[in-house]
Symmetry: C2
Amino acid sequence: MTGNDLEVRLKIELPGGVRLGYGKVDLLRAVEEHRSISAAARSMGMSYRRAWLLIDELNQCFDEPVIETSIGGRAHGGATLTATGVRIIGLYQSARDKAQIAIRDELEQIANALVKSSEVTDK
Amino acid sequence: MTGNDLEVRLKIELPGGVRLGYGKVDLLRAVEEHRSISAAARSMGMSYRRAWLLIDELNQCFDEPVIETSIGGRAHGGATLTATGVRIIGLYQSARDKAQIAIRDELEQIANALVKSSEVTDK
């Protein structure tokens, strides 16, 4: 177990108490993949209502919505990321990767302080 | 609202599904201040049981416990940080500060994408 094995998760506090973290970003990615909020929610074991609320929080935060839903479609119909949605995913991923690199020394020292049996029990 | 106004919160995934984040680090700081787990828990609006479980998770993770409780004291008696506890607080704080600096560009771009009224409504 070295510092490279310790994964970093990042949350960015947006105005109004909204947090941009891996959960919301994963949801955006799932919407991009499934082109549907309900299918994205299902793929993450999340209720449609919860997925919709999380997306709505982001939609309210940014100058443009992160997701657009198609009008006149079937119930819980098509949804696609906007340019802003795509950009937020990219910025978050880039921030996460840079953070992991920037704190390499600290992660190494934390890894060194971990109980040694973790090297055995950890896959 | 600029990137500097967006605060970053960091979680580090330790083995065994334990997460080292601001919550646990704040709890360690409160124990350091109050010299008591129950007083620390109270100061954070947390039950003694929850505080104890969070601390126990960390104690199990590291080679040495992060907190030592005094034996033979009154119920929920004295508690102090160990050298490892002090070190973990320092490493986490340093990691957080470095991460915030490393992702300055991304925070700036996220801030620019935020709805403009946030400049007015945000304190």
